[in-house]
Amino acid sequence: MKRLFIALLMVLPLLASCTKKDNEITIGEYDSLTGSDATFGLSTNKGVRLAFDEINAAGGVKGKKLALITLDDQGKNEEAAAAVTRLITQNKVTAIIGGVASGRSKAAAPIAQAKGVPFVSPSSTNPDVTKAGDYVFRVCFIDPFQGSVMAKFAQENLKAKKVAILRDVKNDYSVGLADAFATDFKKRGGEIVTDVSYQAGDIDFKAQLTQIRSKNPDAIYVPGYYTEVGLIAQQARQLGIKAPLMGGDGWDSDKLSEIGKEAINGNYYSNHYTVESTDPAVTEFIKKFKAKYNETPDALAALGYDAAKILAAAMERAPDLSGKSIRDELAKTKDFPAVTGKITLNENRDAVKSAVVVQVEGQNRKYITTVSP
C-alpha cells in the first residue's frame, strides 16, 4: 500500500504537467544554465525572457500569452537531447528555442525535426546544425563566415603572415571555426605554421603553447570557449608569447576577463554585435536589458532576444499554430529588424548578416571593425 502511494506521488506531477491552459502558448527552451559554459545559457535565457515579457505586455501572440519552459542541459549533448524530448512529449511545446553550443544543437535538433516542432537556434554557428532538416532555423551567421572574418581581419588589420591555430578537438564549434579559418587564410596567401589541439576541461596548455612559440607566429587563432581561453591567454603570456590571440563568439562572456585577467586584454574576437553600436535597435535593447537585469547584455543575450522575436513574429503571421504553418512562416523571414542586424533566413535556414570584430579591454569590448558577408 505504502509503495503504491509513493508511486502515485511520483506520477502526479507528470499528470499535472500535461494539463495545458487554453489562453497560453508554451514555448520550450533548453540551454546550459549550469556547467562549464553556463554564462552562455544564462545570457540567452535572459534575452529570451526579456523578449517574451515585451511580447506579452503588448498583448501576446494571436491574443494568447507566451509561456516559457526552460530546461537545463548542464552543458552536455545527451542532456540537450533528453531536454528536447521532454519538452515535446511531456510539455507539448509549440516551438523550441535551442541552445548556444553547436554540439548540443546537433544532438537536439534532429529530435525536433522528427516530431515536426519548429526549432530556432539563437547562436549555434556550426553549418551542420540546420542540416538536421527543414524545421531547424538559426538567427546567427555560420562558422565558415565567422572563420573567414577573422582570416580577413588577421591579414588586413593585423598584417599577419604566419598564424598558429589552437583548437578544442572535442568541440564541433571550435573544429568548424578552425577549419574555416585555415582554409580562408591559406586562400589569402597566408601560412598556418602549426595546428595543435587541446580538450575542453584541460588546465595546462604549456606544451601546445611552447610548440607554438617555437614557430614564432604573428597571431594565434584560438576558437574555443571562454573558460579555457582565459587560461590559455595567461599561460601564453607566461611563456613570453607576445603575438595577439584571436577567437570567435565563444569568447563572449564576462568570465573571460575574470579568468584571463590582464593577459586577455588586447586580444580580438569576432562577434554578433557590439554594445558600442549607435543603431537605435541596439541602444533600445541595451537600455531595456539593463533596466531589467542591471547588467550589460552580451551577444548571446542579444541573439536569444532576436530568436524569440523572430519566432513570435512568425507565429503571429501563421494562419494557425501547427508546426507546419509556423515553419513555413519562419522560412519567409526577410529583413527582420533585429538587434544583431537585419536578419534574412536563406534557403539553408541560416541568417545572413555581418559580423563585428572587437578587442578585449578588461570588462569592455572595443569595437574594431565590421565585416559584411
Partner: protein, 300 residues
C-alpha cells in the same frame, strides 16, 4: 634545444601537481589496500573551501605569504574533516565486507561529491583567488623557470620526504604499518586500528588540501568536476610508480607529466592522452607491480 628544456620544465611542473594528488592515493592504499576514489574530489572541495575562505576574509586580491598560509590551513582543515567524515560514514561500516563493495562505495562517494558540489557551489567555473605573485627565478634565452613551478615541485618532494619519515621513523608510522600488514593482530598488540585509519585519512586528505591551493594558484579556474581528470591521472601515476609506495608515486607522477608533455611537443596534441597512456601500459607490461612496487606472491 631551448624548446626542449622548456618542455622539460613544463612536464616536471605538471608532473609535480599529479604527484601531490598521487601521494594521497598511494598512502591510503598502502595502509588499507583500498583505492579511495573520492580522494580527488576531496581535493576539489579543498579548492572551493579556500575560494570561500578568501572571499570571507576579503583577501582574494591580496597575494602574499599571509594569504597563502590562511588558505593552506583552511583547505587542509576542511579536507581532513571531510576525509574523516567519509571514512567514518562510508568506509568504516564496510571494513569487513569484500574489497569490491568498498571500491564501489568509493566510486559512489566520488560521484556524490562531484554532483553534490554542483548543487552546493554551482556548476559554473569560479576564479581562484590570487595567492602569490609568480616571478621568474631564472631565465636563459627563451627558457624561464617560474617560482610556481619550483614551489609545486618543492612541496611535492617535501611531502614525499615527510610521509616517508612519518611511516618509517615514527611510532604512529610503525602502527600504520602494523595495521597494514594485519589489522587484527595489530589490535592485539594495543594498536587501535580505527584511530590509525582515521589518522591515515587525515594525512592523505590534508595533502589533497595542499594540492588544491597549489593547483589553484597555478591554474586559477575551479569547478566541481576539476578533480575528475587530474584524479584519474594521479591514480594512474600512483599505480605506475607502484601503488602503496610513497617514492614511487612521485616518480610515477613525474614520468606521467613528462610523457604527456613530450607527446604534445613531438608527436600529436590530439592523441595526447591516448599516447601518454600507451607509454604507461608499456611500462606496466615490463614492471607489473609498478616501477618501485614489490610484487609479492600471496601465500595460501
Amino acid at each position: 634545444m631551448q624548446d626542449f628544456v622548456q618542455h622539460l620544465i613544463n612536464g616536471i611542473s605538471l608532473g609535480s601537481i599529479y604527484a601531490l594528488i598521487a601521494l594521497g592515493y598511494t598512502m591510503v592504499y598502502g595502509i588499507l589496500k583500498m583505492i579511495n576514489f573520492a580522494h580527488s574530489d576531496v581535493y576539489m572541495v579543498g579548492a572551493f573551501a579556500s575560494y570561500y575562505v578568501a572571499r570571507a576574509f576579503g583577501i582574494e586580491a591580496h597575494p602574499g605569504v599571509g594569504t597563502l598560509a590562511i588558505l593552506l590551513i583552511s583547505s587542509m582543515v576542511c579536507c581532513s574533516l571531510l576525509g574523516v567524515v567519509i571514512e567514518r560514514l562510508a568506509y568504516r561500516p564496510l571494513r569487513n565486507s569484500p574489497k569490491l563493495n568498498i571500491l564501489i562505495t568509493a566510486i559512489g562517494v566520488s560521484l556524490f561529491l562531484e554532483y553534490g558540489s554542483q548543487v552546493v557551489f554551482g556548476a559554473d567555473p569560479k576564479v581562484f583567488p590570487e595567492v602569490m605573485k609568480d616571478f621568474v627565478i631564472f631565465s636563459f634565452g627563451n627558457v624561464e623557470l617560474k617560482s610556481f613551478d619550483v614551489t609545486v615541485l618543492g612541496v611535492s618532494i617535501l611531502a614525499m620526504i615527510g610521509l616517508q619519515f612519518l611511516i618509517y621513523k615514527t611510532k604512529v608510522g610503525k602502527a600504520m604499518r602494523a595495521v597494514s600488514s594485519n589489522a587484527s593482530v595489530a589490535s592485539l598488540m594495543g594498536v587501535n586500528p580505527d584511530k590509525i585509519i582515521a589518522f591515515t585519512f587525515i594525512v592523505g586528505s590534508a595533502l589533497a588540501g595542499v594540492g588544491s591551493v597549489l593547483v589553484g594558484m597555478k591554474y586559477p579556474k575551479i569547478d566541481p568536476l576539476m578533480g575528475m581528470m587530474i584524479g584519474m591521472k594521479a591514480f594512474v601515476a600512483a599505480v605506475l610508480g607502484g601503488i602503496g609506495n610513497v617514492r614511487g608515486a612521485v616518480l610515477g607522477a613525474l614520468i606521467m607529466g613528462l610523457s604527456e608533455e613530450m607527446v604534445v611537443a613531438y608527436m600529436s596534441s590530439t592523441y595526447r592522452d591516448a599516447l601518454a597512456f600507451s607509454i604507461l601500459i608499456a611500462i606496466l607490461i615490463f614492471k607489473p607491480a609498478g616501477l618501485l612496487g614489490k610484487y609479492s606472491v600471496e601465500k595460501v
